[in-house]
């Protein structure tokens, strides 16, 4: 509620700068991949987005377990923030997966194990969000969403494993070729940039969650 702290502003500028540099290098500086050509440049946004989605949902998992043990409202706020941001990153990942899939595989959507798992991840955390919006009582909402946060995440490895088996029984998995160093560096840079963006959005979203909690208390108090 107070004036935005300096560190937060700094984090925001840092994140923006890193993203600009990352995209610039990814698009204009680093040479295109020999085999795939320029479309491979989408890797510098697709892969980091997927990794951040996964990280966000892992944070939701950890916060959910913490909440179930300590029942501290702060963990619930962080979990809610991370889940919402995770959904944004997952949608971006899926869209980029399609943009990349069309030229390389000729179709917008294939049941590739990673894409499928990401889609299921999206369904799980859209469910998480819907549950939060339907539960009125703050304590129940926190407890129930923490439960879905734990079960939802525990499901991910099994989903990935079963989907991979499902696909590999039909088509061999694309073995990751050795990646050229400059491509790897660009990828790492973008991954760092995306992580900064995640951190910045988290700070903002957690504050919003606190505000919403306070509003709920005041509305009930004055009701």
């Amino acid at each position: 509620m107070g004036p935005k702290s300096v560190t937060e502003k700094l984090l925001g500028i840092l994140a923006l700068g890193a993203m600009l540099v990352g995209s610039y290098i990814g698009l204009a500086v680093v040479p295109a991949d020999a085999a795939q050509g320029n479309v491979q440049r989408l890797m510098y946004v697709h892969v980091p987005a997927a990794w951040l989605a996964f990280l966000a949902f892992f944070v939701v998992f950890v916060m959910s377990v913490l909440y179930l043990i300590q029942r501290d409202e702060r963990w619930d706020n962080v979990a809610a923030a991370s889940a919402e941001i995770g959904v944004v990153f997952t949608v971006v990942t899926l869209l980029l997966g399609m943009m990349w899939g069309k030229p390389t595989w000729g179709v917008f959507w294939t049941w590739d194990p990673r894409l499928t798992t990401t889609a299921i991840l999206l369904a799980i955390y859209v469910g998480y969000g819907a549950l939060r919006s339907f539960a009125d009582d703050a304590e129940k909402r926190a407890r129930w969403s923490a439960i879905v946060g734990v079960i939802g995440f525990a499901n991910v490895p099994i989903v990935y494993m079963s989907v991979t088996w499902w696909r590999t029984l039909h088509q061999p998995p694309s073995s990751p070729r050795s990646v050229a160093p400059d491509i790897l560096w660009t990828l790492m840079l973008n991954l760092a940039a995306f992580t900064l963006v995640y951190a910045y959005l988290m700070v903002r979203r957690i504050r919003l969650a606190k505000l919403e909690g306070e509003l709920e208390k005041r509305m009930a108090y004055n009701a």
Partner: protein, 232 residues
């Protein structure tokens, strides 16, 4: 049983605000007060169905917040509608209650209780066919099939004819003789209410224990099961 500042808050309004009272074993505390004053909330708290927002209660020495299961072992709770199943017969309902109480259901125990509550002739009829009065008697029967040390009765008289009310009074006096503590919430005047050693008035979540001298009738609606004027 001992309540120490027991409170319960839904959202932001206090359904019950630091209720404190001590009820000796084998005695009855009667709770009176308008609807929504917190009677049912208090009973649900003692029955461990609601978690206290503040304070605590000790039933037979067990703390409500620390070991609720110990309390559940010793408590019987008769709600307004009872925990009964329409598609089971009266006997089957009591069988289920015994099993859920961790007991091996025995036919003669169920038979005796059904006789006691005057439902032995309809023992095998499905509860769906019962009137509210009969359903109420069966709910009372649920308290008799399990050995309990604390009996919580929420509006036991509602829906009962005078004979039914008399049955409730008999059962309550049996509980007292057996050393069972009784917590009775009712806004209808009945013998058990008058016999209660302690009476508490509940208004807007506040519990106030009446000194014995004060006449009870001022707080009770007059007359039996017929429509009663709202309590003062």
């Amino acid at each position: 049983m001992e309540l120490e500042g027991l409170s319960k808050r839904f959202g932001w309004n206090w359904a019950l605000r630091d209720a404190s009272v001590r009820v000796e074993a084998g005695t009855t505390l009667c709770l009176v007060g308008p609807n929504g004053a917190g009677k049912t909330t208090l009973l649900k708290l003692v029955a461990t169905l609601l978690r206290p927002s503040g304070g605590d209660a000790f039933v037979m020495g067990h703390s409500l917040s620390k070991d609720p299961d110990e309390i559940r072992q010793r408590t019987g709770f008769m709600t307004v509608r009872g925990f009964l199943y329409d598609d089971l017969s009266a006997a089957e309902n009591l069988h289920f209650t015994m099993r859920m109480g961790g007991l091996k259901p025995r036919r003669e125990v169920v038979g005796r209780v059904l006789e006691r509550i005057g439902l032995d002739d309809v023992a095998d009829n499905r509860m769906r066919t019962f009137s509210t009065g009969m359903r109420k008697r069966l709910a009372l029967g649920q308290l008799l099939v399990r050995p309990i040390e604390v009996a919580l009765l929420d509006e036991p008289y509602s829906g009962l004819d005078s004979q039914g009310m008399q049955l409730v009074d008999e059962v309550v006096s049996e509980f007292k003789a057996a050393g069972t503590t009784v917590l009775l919430a009712s806004h209808q005047d009945g013998e058990a209410v008058r016999e209660a050693e302690q009476t508490g008035i509940l208004r807007k979540g506040r519990l106030e224990i009446l000194p014995d001298s004060e006449p009870l009738s001022r707080h009770l609606s007059v007359g039996g099961p017929a429509g009663a004027p709202e309590v003062v």
